[in-house]
């Protein structure tokens, strides 16, 4: 029994690992489904990487725009028809469980531009209403334009191929697995919200670490000597490929030149007001 048990255990270890690695190979075989260039605005070094010296691994956090971005002023949610396609049957007063779906995200495209334009109009309107306010509106817009993620959810569905046909530009649209929630935004009015991506961080392999390690070390030293935690201008850009299962991997990372005039909110400038209003 013991020998049989040992062989069964070793076979199980081999099988499980083989299944995982075969899945990885299948995901990365052939042309990627999408290859996209992101900057630090969309792929951020997480707080833990700077603070936790016991974990030498580094994963970059994938940031996308969700409802609570930019002071609660969000890009468009997913329409009711999409929710129905995903199997939701929204009813007043009843909370439905979330659903898994393929989610389409657009990088620096029309949805982002529309959102910025809408926010700009809102800010101008707020300024007209309160011209002498001690706390001028729009600081969140400035931050959004300098450091906010330009990845915006534009579509979702069950059929990945159909989504890809609707959004064929593989250098601008990602089709990735995510989790969709139905929210009642106003009484009787529902819209969809992508509450999570199934893979929301991307591991950095050793060969791509040097550029980022330099930043992590510099960030650690800066935090030791300065109270400011704001770094606004993106300091690197990365090319990310997404495979057949929508699982990403880093292709390259390169540092970006520092801006000649640091924008408002950078380490040398006073930190901007928080998105929801003045700090006082």
């Amino acid at each position: 029994m013991k020998l049989r048990g040992l062989l069964a255990g070793l076979a199980l270890i081999a099988l499980a690992n083989a299944a995982v690695l075969a899945g990885v190979a299948w995901n990365r075989r052939g042309e990627p489904d999408a290859t996209i260039t992101l900057t630090e605005r969309e792929l951020q070094i997480p707080w833990g990487a700077v603070n936790d010296e016991d974990d030498t691994g580094l994963d970059l956090q994938l940031e996308w725009n969700v409802r609570w971005s930019a002071g609660g002023r969000a890009p468009e949610g997913l329409p009711l028809a999409t929710l129905r396609e995903l199997g939701f049957e929204p009813r007043v007063g009843r909370k439905e469980p979330p659903r898994t779906a393929w989610v389409v995200m657009e990088m620096d495209g029309e949805a982002w531009q529309r959102w910025v334009a809408k926010r700009r109009r809102q800010v101008e309107e707020e300024r007209r209403k309160e011209p002498d306010s001690d706390c001028p509106p729009g600081s969140d817009l400035e931050q959004m334009l300098v450091s906010g993620s330009r990845l915006v959810v534009v579509d979702a569905g069950r059929d990945r191929e159909a989504l890809r046909r609707r959004h064929p530009d593989r250098s601008r649209y990602l089709v990735v697995p995510g989790t969709v929630d139905a929210r009642e935004v106003r009484p009787g009015v529902f819209e969809g919200l992508v509450s999570d991506l199934r893979v929301n961080s991307i591991h950095v392999p050793l060969r791509l670490r040097p550029a980022l390690d330099e930043l992590v070390t510099a960030e650690r030293m800066r935090r030791e000597t300065s109270n400011s935690a704001y770094v606004d201008s993106p300091r690197y850009r990365a090319t990310v490929a997404f495979g057949r299962r929508g699982e990403p991997w880093l292709v390259s990372v390169e540092k970006l030149p520092a801006p000649v005039n640091p924008p408002a909110g950078s380490a040398s400038a006073p930190p901007p007001a928080p998105p929801d209003g003045c700090s006082g």
Binding site: G5, V24, T56, W249
Partner: protein, 366 residues
């Protein structure tokens, strides 16, 4: 009822059965001494010596083959060893996790994969070695748990390195691995770890069938109730004729999942997935919260499973206290509320004592 060979120890005994046999011999000797001292029974010298010789041989054999505890002091030491083994395994598993986390960023991807795949295989090999070298199974249990932890680390870190969509199937692989270790060496701790993973995998399957992400599936108590019932059915479908101590793990883990999930949904009926309104859900789960533990107590008494009786009785009492709180705490004078709680505790003690006596009566051989 299986017959016990009284001339020699059964070559197919498991360690817990061997320990029970040694305990029976010790109890017989103590009782015989008491009867002799009271003058109730005095065996002829020749017969007494023959019984003594037979028991000495049996105990020597049991100690040699199964490392059973013959004396009370040895038993206490064994419990201590078991606790130390569990704590040691937890600390070693944690150290493996932290060690890998400390250095993996300095390794290339192929080296990371090689280390991750090799770690559980090496730890499992060491478990086999320990099981061959010492009979108590203490070191095998410790290394078995470390092997289990290495396998968890293996699949978790591969997921992180290759940015894989998290899958509940990892829990199935871990469950099977825990079971393989447990059945190969007769170890309960790796089985408990495996059965917990099996419960999570089963609960995840219930939700994913209806399109939920598997992590969200774990947020619904009914999914855990179904998973618990499935685990309770394992020893019914797969009979454990030899490894009764392993059968107990399924029974306790399954029952705990069912009762804990019932308590959860009775307290928070909004988390239910049943298409009923809140008031009906409350009534349904408040009733089930009493009925299911009561049924489990009855089943435990019937099958002489003491641990099941005690666990079900504990949940019954917790449920009762929770209902008292819901019904009376707001309007009743506090002194009266706590008086009722105290009297209920006294009543529960009386019932538990009766249950204990009933169990003892049922355990007594006919």
């Amino acid at each position: 009822m299986r017959k016990i060979d009284t001339n020699m120890t059964d070559p197919l005994l498991s360690k817990p059965e061997a320990q029970r046999r040694a305990d029976r011999i010790a109890a017989f000797r103590a009782e015989l001494a008491a009867l002799e001292a009271g003058g109730v029974l005095v065996l002829p010298q020749e017969q007494r010596a023959a019984v003594e010789r037979h028991h000495d041989t049996a105990l020597r054999d049991l100690a040699e083959r199964f490392d059973v505890d013959v004396e009370e002091g040895e038993k206490r030491l064994s419990v201590g060893m078991w606790v130390a083994s569990f704590l040691g395994a937890t600390a070693l598993a944690l150290s493996v996790f932290l060690f890998f986390q400390r250095f993996w960023g300095l390794l290339t991807t192929p080296s990371q994969v090689a280390i991750l795949v090799a770690a559980p295989a090496v730890a499992f090999g060491l478990t086999e070695l320990a099981a061959r070298r010492e009979r108590t199974g203490t070191f095998a249990s410790l290394l078995g748990l470390v092997a289990f932890a290495c396998f968890v680390l293996d699949l978790t870190m591969l997921g992180r390195i290759f940015n894989i969509v998290p899958s509940a199937n990892a829990f199935l692989a871990w469950a099977l691995f825990g079971m393989v270790i447990a059945y190969a060496y007769g170890l309960r701790l790796p089985l408990a770890a495996g059965v917990i993973c099996l419960l999570i995998w089963l609960a995840a399957q219930v939700g994913t069938l209806s399109g939920l992400p598997w992590e969200s599936s774990l947020e619904y108590p009914e999914h855990h109730i179904l998973a618990g019932l499935a685990v309770l059915a394992v020893p019914v479908v797969f009979k454990h004729r030899r490894r009764l101590e392993l059968e107990r793990v399924y029974r306790l883990a399954g029952l705990f999942a069912v009762l804990a999930a019932l308590l959860w949904v009775a307290e928070s009926p909004r988390d239910s997935r049943l298409p009923l309104d809140l008031e009906n859900l409350k009534v349904l789960y408040h009733v089930l919260g009493f009925l299911v533990p009561a049924a489990a107590i009855a089943a435990g008494l019937w099958r002489r499973w003491g641990d099941m009786v005690y666990m079900a009785a504990t949940f019954f009492v917790i449920h009762l206290y929770a209902r008292f709180f819901d019904w009376w705490f707001d309007w009743m004078p506090k002194y009266l509320f706590f008086l009722i709680l105290g009297l209920t505790a006294v009543g529960a003690l009386a019932v538990l004592m009766r249950l204990r006596r009933a169990l003892a009566t049922r355990r007594r051989p006919s």
